[in-house]
Symmetry: D2
Subunit: 356 residues, 4 copies
């Protein structure tokens, strides 16, 4: 493939945070031309008003989200509310579109229709290839990127799920932790809650506060975490999951602990993590004794990971920091798109964060 080949991408839901971040990344992608930008209630708005930081797109106008506006592109990215993507994708196909479709929403992530119905309260829309290239597929001896290379539809993972999965999967895959008693507590930024105005998301509420939500196993990301850890080789999985909102716009810092497998020396634990990510371009195990922070990865598609063995408590503590909008959403979409289009996996993506 020559450098001058470009693909056109349409973004549905371009006025929200996920859509805006996809566009931020695509503006730096050498082989992408940005096509239609669509929205629902914000149709008609200038992009300069919706996303003033995307200066090169400032004078573009949001079109209504429809088969007409999205048809004719090589790629369609859907950044829509849950429940909207299945129907639209079917309508596009019916209209003859052969576009690669990437869904940033949850509709097609779960393989288990029962779990979907339990956590989302609606009918399952089906399962698409899962957009986490680094996910180990224990039963095939390969990674998810191999699946994505032939994908025509991609379900982009949940941001919290990505952080927990990347933190812990090396230990699960290597059998050095017990996945039946995982505890994950995440400090998370406010952009993950989206751009819809709600009182508890106001700056005056958030500044100076630390605020948990969806406590007690009710968060919709729980079954998705379980699914990933099973893919990585776990049999039975149990995950206690608690997110805590902290006053940052971007970032997830996941603290994930699991019992260390009986008799497992600390060096073996560390070796499992080292080997697991040795060849990954976007997952970086830090040197011993330094801890991941979200500032390291702001704006980057990187996950920084660390692992420690707490011998007193008998637990492995695995930490992962990501930018929820990049590796947690839009970066995962672009990385998956690159694989599906046959482009270099890293095209248009950076490992360099914006700090301090």
């Amino acid at each position: 493939m020559l450098m001058h080949v470009t693909f056109t991408v349409a973004v549905a839901g371009a006025s929200g945070y996920a859509g805006g971040e996809v566009l931020r990344l695509l503006l730096a992608h050498p082989q992408i031309e940005i096509g239609a930008l669509t929205a629902h209630t914000n149709a008609g708005q200038r992009m300069g008003d919706a996303h003033p930081h995307l200066l090169p797109l400032a004078d573009r106008v949001l079109q209504p989200t429809s088969v007409e506006s999205l048809h004719g592109h090589d790629v369609v990215v859907l950044a829509l509310p849950h429940g909207k993507s299945g129907e639209l994708t079917a309508a596009l196909a019916a209209a003859g579109s052969t576009a690669l479709v990437l869904d940033c929403g949850a509709d097609h992530r779960l393989t288990d229709a029962d779990a979907w119905e339990q956590f989302y309260g609606s009918t399952h829309a089906g399962t698409w290839p899962y957009g986490l290239p680094e996910l180990i597929l224990a039963d095939r001896g390969t990674r998810q990127r191999d699946v994505l290379r032939s994908a025509r539809h991609v379900a982009v993972p949940g941001c919290n799920v990505t952080a927990v999965t990347l933190a812990l999967q090396p230990g699960v895959a290597a059998g050095v932790v017990d996945p039946r008693d995982v505890v994950a507590v995440l400090a998370v930024g406010y952009s993950g809650a989206g751009k819809a105005a709600k009182t508890h998301l106001l700056a005056a509420e958030a500044l100076g506060s630390l605020a948990p939500y969806a406590v007690g196993g009710t968060h919709r990301h729980v079954p998705e975490i379980e699914q990933n850890l099973r893919a990585a080789g776990a049999g039975e999985v149990r995950v206690s999951f608690t997110p805590v909102l902290a006053p940052v716009s971007r970032g997830i810092l996941a603290t994930v602990t699991a019992p260390v497998a009986a008799g497992m020396p600390a060096a073996t634990v560390r070796a499992a993590w080292e080997q697991h990510y040795a060849d990954e371009p976007f997952v970086h195990l830090l040197p011993e004794g330094t801890w991941p922070t979200t500032a390291m990865v702001t704006g980057a598609n990187t996950a920084v990971v660390q692992v420690a063995v707490d011998e007193r408590a008998g637990r492995v503590v695995a930490l992962c920091a990501i930018d929820n909008l990049v590796k947690g959403t839009a970066g995962a979409a672009v990385q998956s798109m690159n694989l599906a289009l046959g482009l270099p996996e890293t095209a248009g993506l950076t490992t360099v964060g914006v700090a301090p």
Copy 2:
């Protein structure tokens, strides 16, 4: 005792955050007269420069910390670096002082000299009555406030320890959780790290970042948590403890999970927490379905608590929010002082936070 009885209080280490917060509370205390204010490197400084928010003390000058400056008060509060309080207290006693001494540092918190030496690397200075009035003493069927009523020395608890203990002790005392596999992850504010200038505590580093530290069971608060949970009735205790700095000045949000005891119904779990704190003036169990936030308790001596049972994960999730400088430090000192002086336990303390 009549309302017009007042006690004089000296504060050693008055230029730091803990000392300043003790003074902020004492300024609102109806039966306290503020005496000597002392410091080490900051001796000679105006209080208006050290703590410009304490306007009524602005023109006071910090004296050197010494037996001479501290002698002659009814109460001496020590807000000193670790390792400094034992010697000073002995010197005061030798000089004839009979003052109530409250140590905001760690020196006299632990009963186990081995644990002290393991975590602090120095000789144990002895154990003082522990300044957490709400701590249940399972083997006596009473609370720590009874011990404090006759105390002449008080070891003020660590702030993280208070949050974890208040979150979980109802379940431990009632036997509804298993204390052998506690996992505590805390989102914590920067004032807990003190006022000494260090690069990683700079605003430019903190803003926009979430940063864990002391991962893997190395934090000095671990043995203190274990000690408290044993006091509350646990036999064997194991605690995985991870603090994560978040960009707030004040506040600790502790997420503490432990396995629910076999066959224990959720209603029994909740009842344990309700009964445990029904009569406590400063610990408040929220109504079901609402979660503690640190904004609720900014500036107040309150701990707000919630508990949920995650049946999928088989764990109880207990949450506690405190202001690390108030209920976590200075408020605990004042509350303990009130008990030791025979004053109403709530004198000078508020349950009303400053929000938003």
Copy 3:
């Protein structure tokens, strides 16, 4: 008046930030009993849900705002949207209420009906005594507190107006600055924008951003500033006013400059400020060379002020920091209430901030 005399206070609009802050202060007021708490859309809500930091009121329920709910109190505080207070006050009077009414809204602040109509676009509701006790009344040789002592209605000032007025009025009153070319730029926190959910007030938008608004003389506080500076003795007044939102919840830092009067020595300028605030309990001129910060006054009813002469630029730079919800709103209401009720002006109010 004996200590045991208490007054009952009803708060209309108790679910918003201004109403909540009035209640936070009244909970610490020794001579106030909190009566009816009312709201419009939030009627029926528990106070514990509206304002979880006000723990002692958690189980109170918000009643509908009406003559019936508000009647029968000694004091009624109105924290309502603009345009609502005049009608309600008239209805209360018609029903026989003789309550002292304090309006936290703008309706009755301006004396100039034309300015009202120009900036608010509605009919002027009339003028009430202005709740800024420290305002100098140049033509009477007195301060506004003398007017407030007999008031039955009080118009609580705008928060930005208070900061600008307290910064600059000493120079205007003393004739050492030229009020015909005042430039005021304010860094302001998000609570000043209220609790209604709007996209540009979301935490994700605010964190990491500095955002001006109402640029170019369109802010409704402009005519109110002009009115105050004229009260302080200015003839012609011109004010350039620009507010900039910064990611803090509370606080206003006003930087106000005006040309220094011809030939005026710096010492004379400083003396004007010193004399002006020498006897004020809530306005504090800092020592030379130290600058006001909003952290100094968080939660306190204090305004901290500083002044410098920039001889190179030929301007006086006056700075004032306040907590917009306290001295900027609720503290001003309580201070004015104290005066109108014949209580000590400082009752229930503190000069001690919550910092760091």
Copy 4:
């Protein structure tokens, strides 16, 4: 010049914020190879410890800053404390280096030796071409980029100066404002204060606070602003300048006002700004009625500008938002380097911000 030509760049002072940001930008530059990275007290440190966000450089080690380490590169960037760059540059030249030298410090910015000595208290080190390509040179009818095209030394501007200059110079150049009474108030982030640990820069101090400094015309950026406005065509210049620290890491929001020239219609004012920046790649005038925010430009080399006429006050209000570390420092260095090396001015630089 072909795409494969690359230039080697050494960075002295690579452990600080300015040096780190230069490297962040150079990592994305298509024609740059990063050479020696040097430091003073941090020599020997891994870059992964100094700047963990620069993952591709993590295993590089900081060398001591010396002629030996810096010699042999095409470009040397100096990010040193004030007073250090002149001597080092001379030593490099003496050793035969012909490198392009870019000084991020202040040493060579001012043309007026008296002003230097007054504000910096040391001997003036001489004047280098000034690294603000957009600066209008009124007496030559050209812009500063023409000077930079042949430069071998560049003095990178002060960050606050850039914001004020870009805000106001269109009005000065067009004669539509009066530069004899400029008032500039800037809300600024903490990274501008550097990475040296100082108490007033601690997160606990900064969070929740708004804090002015260098009030009254004492800031070292004042003479540099005056110099630029004179370059833009002003005769006499007077500037009142006040910076206010706000709790963001990056960003400057400059509010700059000046009297509108007598009889000048608002449309003429706006036209001056429109024409001035019509062809600039990195300065963007926003549509009428929308205001610059720093979030728009985080991580980008863009300055976003807006202007309004306040007819009531008789002043033009010009606003400019920049990222102090990019357009304010490192981006200006790279943009100037591009010009001096004959590369496209925009190489390696983006106009897309990282938001929210």
